[in-house]
């Protein structure tokens, strides 16, 4: 039957697809960076859903640590991408 | 007894949230919407926090909840002021 774990897992699959679609669609750079972050959020939801063990029990802490690492890695990648974009825009004006 | 009081407070809070949201959707321009949003939601949050504080196990958690409410109050007041000022300057320019 539809457990919470499965409900959030399926939602995660949908979010991953949503992010993937926009990331591949060559929208503006900003949309592609947001799309990759949304796709990451989808994969993290998959991990957290897998870790959930029902309302009473303790959830599995390992995926939580993985997602924490993933969030920090995602923000550093976003920061570098936006810095590259800024430099590209600045370069655009000079020449 | 505490549960009933908590339920009443939370329901009242929800009413103000609803009022704020309707205000956001219905009111014509930015300023009135800001006005509705800030006033209603903060009052709603206050009642919600009061309800949760009554329901909280110990005093420390209740105090933390109140601190959260005060922080949100200050932040939303300042940010709505900034948004209004920005919008006002924008209109003054064009």
């Amino acid at each position: 039957m539809l457990t919470t774990q499965l409900l959030y897992g399926l939602a995660a699959c949908f979010i991953v697809a949503l992010g993937l679609r926009t990331a591949l669609l060559h929208a503006s750079l900003l949309h592609r960076v947001i799309a990759i972050n949304v796709m990451g959020a989808g994969v993290f939801m998959l991990l957290i859903a897998v870790a959930y063990r029902g309302p009473g029990q303790q959830p599995d802490p390992l995926p939580h640590a993985l997602v924490l690492t993933g969030i920090v890695v995602a923000v550093s990648a976003t920061a570098l991408a936006l810095a590259l974009a800024r430099r590209l825009a600045a370069e655009h004006d000079d020449d | 007894m505490a549960d009933i009081l908590a339920a009443i407070l939370i329901l009242a809070g929800l009413f103000f949230y609803l009022a704020g949201s309707i205000g956001l959707l219905r009111l014509p321009d930015l300023y009135s919407r800001l006005h509705a949003l800030t006033k209603a939601d903060n009052l709603g949050l206050g009642l919600l926090v009061a309800g949760l504080a009554v329901h909280a196990q110990d005093l420390l958690t209740a105090l933390k909840l109140v601190l959260i409410w005060l922080a949100v109050l200050a932040a939303s007041a300042a940010s709505s002021h900034l948004i209004a000022q920005h919008a006002h300057r924008q209109e003054a320019e064009d």
């Binding site: 592609r32 990759i36 796709m39 993933g70 590259l84 655009h92 | -």
Partner: protein, 478 residues
């Protein structure tokens, strides 16, 4: 000897931090770290050769709970190749980048890239591989955009977005594996994985992510601009090592972890993509206007050869035949690493000396920079696969395997690919000879030309004539 497994990762990271904290001494710190890391890589190689697979549980926690580092024959050899290429490129860069401010910003990123490469080659844990892939991707992008020229920044940005997409798909695969099997350690997974929807989907997602990062044919569009516009030593490391690290992961997953999940159809698909990469890459290289673009397209083609081994390894009946073919694969990978690094370094010298790297206006470089042109020719021999280069042995095994399993298409593709490679190398050499007189001394810029020459020489003479240990080392595996 097992200590070397830690030093190989800790030294470059410590060097990066030291280079960051001592900007004026950055170059000295970097070259010193390069030598020390190469020594520990050699010690690791000797340790693996004498004691077999080295296994290290970090933090003392048993594998599964903690993270395990593993060094078998394959990873030790790739680690040694990485160490030698980065050492040569570091010596080259000490003369290539001279402005102190630029040096202070370059070396920490360079050593962080090396840390990522070594950590990736040693890691035995799937999520740890995700983190190393991200570290590798970010440092490669930061280095590719180094110098801030418009083309470099635009190519680096596309490279970063493609890399992030690849990492996210890899992470989705890893999450599925954890959902299905409850562990992330590759050695444990090798025994637990059974053919089924979870394993197939996870492998497909991870492979798709890695194919994006290793730029296999349909997914290669980001590679040529990124490698062609990056500074010379960075292009050398990107083409020789970074894309190969992603390929190493595909090899590790397909041959060791998911060995019995892989279907012949999937292997043939990889082979077909490889064949397309060989033909398309070589054809584009033939028409490239600039030397760096030629080298970048040549990378796309050479990776195609590596992927053509997969259908053979799947179809070869006996274990010994498969090991011999796998030896050919590793030989081809190592030779391409050395040769491509030497080629990019030599091209960097030409670009620095004559201000451009367009093939048409190359006339006279043979006279002005004889050692550089010789390095390009030597690297060309290895890229074509002429004896006595290591690539010749590799391609020989490829052909022998194809003939043994009756898959003739790979023979045809290899022949056409080698012909096209010959064409684009000789086109460059042809343009290089002009009518000016020869200078009396062959080497003009010692600190830059010797690394390029030695790398190309190792690819041709070293691996070709002394290649036997590769097969013995490959016997040692997880």
């Amino acid at each position: 000897m097992t200590d070397a497994i830690i030093w190989v990762v800790a030294l470059p990271l410590a060097g990066a931090l030291a280079a960051l904290l001592l900007p004026r001494l950055a170059t000295a710190v970097a070259v010193g770290t390069a030598v020390a890391t190469s020594v520990s890589a050699a010690a690791l190689l000797r340790g693996v050769a004498t004691q077999g697979v080295l296994h290290y549980e970090l933090g003392g926690w048993s594998a599964g709970l903690g993270i395990a580092l593993r060094a078998d024959g394959l990873s030790a050899m790739l680690l040694m190749m990485t160490a030698l290429v980065v050492l040569a490129a570091s010596i080259y860069t000490s003369a290539y980048i001279t402005a102190p401010a630029e040096r202070a910003r370059f070396w920490p990123l360079w050593l962080l890239l090396w840390t990522a490469l070594n950590a990736l080659l040693l890691s035995g844990d799937l999520f740890n591989l995700y983190v190393t892939l991200e570290l590798l991707g970010l440092s490669a992008v930061a280095l590719a955009a180094f110098g801030g020229k418009r083309a470099a920044v635009a190519a680096a940005l596309r490279y970063l977005l493609v890399g992030l997409l690849g990492s996210m798909m890899f992470l989705a695969g890893v999450s599925l594996i954890y959902a299905g099997y409850g562990t992330l350690d590759m050695a444990q997974l090798a025994h637990m994985v059974t053919a089924g929807p979870t394993a197939w989907t996870a492998l497909a997602l991870m492979t798709a992510g890695l194919l994006l990062k290793t730029a296999l044919f349909p997914l290669h569009f980001w590679l040529p601009p990124a490698h062609a516009s990056a500074p010379a030593p960075v292009s050398a490391v990107l083409s020789a090592l970074v894309v190969k690290a992603a390929f190493y992961l595909v090899l590790r997953l397909w041959l060791h972890v998911f060995a019995d999940v892989v279907t012949p159809a999937a292997a043939n698909l990889l082979g077909a993509l490889g064949a397309a990469a060989v033909l398309w890459g070589s054809w584009q290289a033939l028409q490239a206007e600039r030397l760096k673009l030629l080298a970048a397209y040549s990378t796309v083609a050479q990776l195609g050869y590596l992927f053509m081994f997969f259908p053979l390894l799947q179809a070869l009946p006996s274990v010994t035949a498969r090991d011999v073919a796998a030896g050919g694969l590793v030989m081809l990978a190592l030779t391409h690493g050395f040769a491509k690094a030497g080629l990019f370094l030599a091209i960097g010298i030409i670009q620095q000396r004559s201000g451009h790297d367009s093939i048409q206006q190359l006339d006279g470089t043979a006279q002005r920079l004889p050692a550089t042109t010789f390095s390009i020719a030597l690297a060309g021999v290895a890229l074509i696969g002429l004896p006595p280069s290591g690539a010749f042995l590799g391609k020989w095994q490829l052909l022998a395997g194809a003939v043994a399993t009756g898959q003739w298409v790979w023979v045809v593709v290899t022949a056409i690919g080698s012909l096209l490679a010959m064409a684009y190398i000789f086109r460059v050499i042809g343009h290089a000879f002009g009518h000016q007189s020869y200078p009396n001394l062959p080497v003009t810029v010692a600190r830059e030309e010797w690394p390029a020459l030695l790398l190309a020489a190792v690819a041709v003479l070293g691996l070709g004539l002394a290649g036997a240990p590769v097969w013995q080392l490959l016997e040692i595996r997880v």
